[in-house]
Amino acid sequence: MWKNKPAIVSGRHQNPWLEANIPLAASLDLDIARRSSGGGTVYHDEGNLNLSFLKSRDSYNRKENLDLVVEAITNRWDIDLTVNDRDDIMLNKLYKVSGTAAKLGRLQSYHHFTLLHCVNQDLLQRCLTSPMQGASSKATKSFPATVMNLSEQEPDITFESLINTIGRHFLAEVGQKITPDNFHYLNPLCEEDFPGVTDIAYKLQTWEWRFGKSPDFSIHRNFTGQTFKSRPYSVQVNVAVRKGALTSIEIGVDNPDLELLDCLINQFCKDHSGFLLMHDNVKDFESKFLYCFSESEDGQSEYVTEAQWILKCIVSSLDFL
């Protein structure tokens, strides 16, 4: 059982940009993580209890674990907790207080789930609302739900009282009493106790894992409102992302007078795409673009404004970073 400082955790096969408000998280200095198990994106802070049931592959049974925890809690406190068919724990059959995910290996498995007892709900809502528009991908989509904190129903429920109650019940189920041998704190990052954990921790912190593992996706946006030579036009932006890298940016301008600019910009994009989808790289792209399409270029000064507008469209399509 564990808790961690505020973080947004996405599932193995998800797109964090699509599931969460990454710019907000960055501004609030929240960690953005990806776990190895499936499921949706969640917001953790210290008001959330994480439970990980590590068992052999043969003993994998999600219902069993969820029922055990629900029983432990309802034995002690008088609240209405049930497990629904999505393996969520529901409070009063209306509010979600827990989400589940699992990972199966050859011989081992784990099933983990959250338990919201005192989480910052406002931050949760804001973090899990992505500003991304126009994206299409095969990534797993999260299932948004209305949540509630257990402590709102029963103020006595805290991290300490939960681990005590659940731990005791768990041990009782296997016929044990609590002793320092079977109920203790451990340091999961201790290399001596868990050889190989340092490498795993390192890998989990890399950008490649957290963002680069997102399934391929594309963005399609349409921008209107600009005129050229008193003729309104729209700009289409198509971005393709593979393994976290922007493999192509294509723009389409539906104004025949801007055809040359269209070609030039597309050529520029072809030459300068292929970078990892990070803020700094986009800024880099921007400055290169501005340098290329600047006023000092003779004979093209009338197009500069349009070029800059198109650049704005491109950057705007990537504003979810």
Partner: protein
């Protein structure tokens, strides 16, 4: 008619035989010969179909068309939970890659679970049937694999079968394929001592290997390291036989013969067991408690006098009377006024139990180490009765024969380290108790008396430690003052004795 032995023996040996459905030669028939089968007279077709039938009953997914060097479609096996299809997340291999049994092949996803699929065979990947992000159906081929000719038994076993012996290279798997249960700390201990968990008999529940089990094995295995003298003979450079090497102007260095290290002690590693081991455990627990200390001096003059006189009386009754019975009784009297110091706190410090009985523990140094037996119900005992009980515990302690009843149930402890020496100490509270007192040596020191003259005073220092979560400084101070008063003016005992 030949007989074919049914059962696992045949299944195992069958796998050494490569049966081809096209080519009717049976290789390695010699194996059947060993089982006492007469194969020659057995009609071929019947033999083959019998084997097929036999194999079909033994192993669900064993394919009788398994032939060496054939490309096999590797099917997606049942993941469980009634799941019929999954999404391929990521391939870890591509066509042309060589894989070994149990290597990871791909990652798939089924609603909430992310599953790692591992290879059933050794071989080379020839074709992937799906791209990433595509849906794969259970029971349909995931990829094609070209298996190599392998004559190792057990290689073709389906990993999903519950009888399979699993990872034979996993050193935690014991005989019969049972995975040894053990906590990470125990595993580490075993690894550090080059022990295979599989070799250790677990005495815990479900055969769980406990630390004691590992330590016991270490004892048996370790022998005192022999004092091997490291004598080094000088190495002669090999002279080439043919041409005489030119004489180099190297000074002749006399060969240094290293003599064995004389009179240097050998390191000795002893596993902690018995009392020492229990102490490690107890002290680790104890130091989780936030301690605070409170010290004071006790003027023992009157008590020293009193004891001198009473000692004689006690000896007449056949008892040794030390100061301890007085300390213990005074403590009990003071505890009656400050019962929180005789309480017990539970593991998470949520409940405080005020204990009715004053079972005062007396720390004893025995040949085995530190033990703390207790004198039970001191509130109902007289000083003499306490002395008698102490005598009994002391003799048992010296003999190493203290029983569970004597060692358990302590509610408050006193440690007379002064017996051995020292003045101030910082005793460690023993959970679930909340207080403990350490008594220093009685020293004779000069002090000013009421008249302002220097006089000889017997001073003993007491150092109390208490659990600051439930005891505050004022309580400890008042308790100490009361205890001190009883000892500095022993007649006050008389007032409160029941």
């Amino acid at each position: 008619m030949a007989t074919i032995m049914l059962g696992r023996a045949l299944q195992r040996s069958f796998k050494q035989i490569n049966v081809t459905t096209h080519c009717r030669t049976l290789k390695k028939i010699a194996v059947l010969k060993h089982l006492g089968c007469c194969y020659k007279s057995y009609p071929f077709a019947q033999y083959e179909s019998n084997l097929t039938a036999l194999v079909a009953t033994q192993s669900r997914t064993f394919q009788t068309s398994t032939v060496f060097n054939k490309v096999i479609p590797y099917k997606l096996s049942d993941i469980g939970e009634g799941i019929r299809e999954v999404v391929i997340l990521e391939w870890y291999v591509k066509p042309g890659d060589k894989v070994a049994q149990f290597d990871s092949i791909c990652e798939v996803k089924s609603d909430k679970a992310s599953v790692t699929i591992t290879s059933r065979y050794d071989g080379t990947i020839t074709k992937l049937h799906h791209d990433a992000d595509e849906i794969a159906l259970v029971g349909q081929p995931l990829l094609d694999i070209d298996t190599e000719d392998s004559d190792e038994p057990g290689k073709d076993e389906d990993v999903i079968e519950p009888e399979s012996s699993g990872d034979l290279t996993n050193k935690n798997v014991g005989i019969g394929g049972v995975k040894r249960l053990a906590t990470p700390a125990v595993r580490r201990l075993a690894t550090e001592n080059n022990l295979n968990l599989a070799d250790i008999v677990g005495t815990g529940k479900d055969g769980r290997v406990l630390k004691e089990d590992v330590l016991r094995l270490i004892e048996c295995v370790s022998a005192p390291p022999p004092a091997a003298p490291a004598s080094q003979t000088p190495t002669m450079p090999p002279s080439p036989p043919h041409s005489p090497t030119p004489q180099t102007l190297k000074p002749v260095v006399p060969s240094v013969r290293q003599t064995p290290p004389a009179s240097v002690g050998q390191d000795r590693t002893v596993p902690l067991k018995g009392v020492s081991k229990a102490m490690v455990k107890a002290m680790t627990e104890a130091l989780k408690i936030p301690h605070f200390g409170y010290g004071d001096e006790v003027n023992m003059n009157r008590l020293v006098e009193l004891r001198k006189r009473l000692k004689v009386v006690a000896e007449e009754r056949g008892l040794k009377l030390s100061y301890m019975p007085f300390f213990i009784k005074a403590a009990s009297l003071a505890l009656a006024q400050y019962p929180v110091l005789n309480s017990s706190v539970d593991a998470n410090c949520e409940n405080l139990t005020y204990k009715a009985a004053h079972n005062i523990g007396v720390a004893m140094d025995t040949p085995e180490g530190l033990v703390v037996p207790s004198v039970k119900n001191v509130q109902s005992l007289s000083v003499m009765e306490i002395a008698a009980e102490l005598n009994r515990l002391q003799s048992l302690g010296l003999a190493g024969k203290l029983g569970q009843a004597d060692l358990s149930g302590v509610t408050f402890s006193l440690s007379n380290i002064g017996n051995i020496g020292g003045t101030y100490t910082k005793p460690v509270v023993m959970p679930p108790n909340v207080a403990i007192g350490g008594l220093g040596r009685i020293q004779v020191v000069p002090r000013f008396n009421e008249e302002g003259e220097i006089s000889r005073v017997h001073i003993m220092n007491v150092s109390w430690s208490a659990d600051h979560r439930v005891v505050d400084g004022a309580t400890m101070a008042r308790f100490s003052n009361l205890w001190k008063q009883y000892l500095e003016d022993p007649l006050t005992f008389v007032l409160d004795l029941k």
